[in-house]
Point group: C2
Chain length 240, copies 2
């Protein structure tokens, strides 16, 4: 695929992977505070400052590891989606959503890191660019929603009924995703995203432990809600 990879580059790549694995091991086994430059270096068998030949510092190391997690999560969702290739968009969408929770539940520390990390969050200032991994993650469900919108549009609110400030923001976002969804449809997509991702974050970050021990049925109920919002139930029945 890529151009000629020299022996040096291959070795470097292997070391990078070893570093990521070591950082992940420390995270999972001893918590996020244990992921220090020194500890990671020790784990891979080199001493301290050597790691600075791979990353400029602690922050960049953490960012790279986190980006890897996001890619893994996105890949899991894509795999689940593609396993349903040929099925109606709604089914592929539900498969991707369930894969998201399955991955998060299986890797809570990693998911927590994704949420806490600035890799997933930034984008405040106009200048800052969203990370490639975060974009890929976001686009799994966005693309499915856009496909749904094209093939079987879901109900949207009347733009005139939305507050002006919200309409402007939605118009900007609609442009940012290259018009894949018009503002009103983007609003529905974002509402769904907020409920789904919000629920998952609260579950994984233990904000709901005071009431629940197992959120699987709550998540499924949320999915049913979203299915209604997106008209997926109708699809299933009409499909006959």
């Amino acid at each position: 695929m890529s151009a000629h990879t020299s022996r040096r580059q291959r070795l470097r790549q292997a070391t990078l992977e070893e570093i990521h694995a070591a950082a992940r091991k420390l995270l999972v086994e001893q918590g996020s505070a244990a992921v220090t430059v020194n500890a990671v270096a020790r784990q891979v068998g080199m001493s301290g400052p050597a790691l600075y030949h791979y990353y400029t510092g602690h922050d960049e190391l953490v960012g790279a590891v986190t980006a890897g997690f996001i890619r893994e999560l996105a890949a899991a969702m894509e795999r689940a989606r593609d396993a349903q290739a040929g099925a109606p968009v709604g089914d592929r969408m539900l498969a991707a959503c369930r894969a998201m929770r399955t991955w998060a539940v299986a890797h809570p520390d990693e998911f927590g890191w994704i949420f806490a990390s600035p890799v997933a969050a930034p984008n405040r200032r106009p200048g800052s660019v969203r990370h490639e991994a975060a974009l890929r993650f976001e686009h799994v469900l966005l693309d499915l929603t856009a496909e749904l919108w094209r093939t079987r549009p879901f109900p949207v609110p009347d733009p005139a009924s939305l507050p002006a400030s919200l309409r402007d923001q939605l118009t900007a976002y609609s442009a940012a995703i290259e018009g894949q969804l018009p503002p009103e449809a983007a609003h529905v997509f974002l509402s769904c995203w907020i409920r789904l991702y919000g629920l998952l974050c609260m579950e994984i970050l233990h904000q709901l432990d005071f009431a629940y021990t197992d959120l699987e049925p709550v998540f499924e109920e949320c999915l049913r809600d979203l299915s209604t919002t997106l008209g997926l139930d109708v699809t299933a029945k009409e499909a006959h």
Copy 2:
């Protein structure tokens, strides 16, 4: 109010408040990583180890400061609620919800700490007890919902329609809140809580910056949704 407070106790109390203020200042001005035992001590004008006479270590300091934030947030919500004393439950509830967001937006760093901190989260193991401050925070909306339930019950799902595992969890939670709400009503309350608190957390923790710059209208829309779920609109019309 409390029994005789000696001069010593008053001084200690003043120092504790100074410590909290210093920690908060560091948090707001330089981020959470700047809140170290040494830096806080320096800020209050004593040197390092002196702080260990007030807290057993960094974790306890952070926990105490966070608990203070939670209390302040809960107090803001209670104040907003009580400012509407005499008004219908629904109005008091909306006031409390808006106060929650207002506080969070005004104090994003503090709110972020609340969310990230184990003070708000724990309760995993049977043994661990929920922190007094977290309980008080939770109870502001819980109590209002319970009052609403008593005076003007909102629609609830048929318990038989819920998955058994969910029903059991809700029954346990209903018992944990001393039957203030039956399981089905607790389910509605928790759904509302998840949507409201989840949205706020995602906003404050910058998980929605990729699409929105101002979430006030989104929050208001969420409140309208919840009002419908809880039958508050009906209340307003019938009240005439």
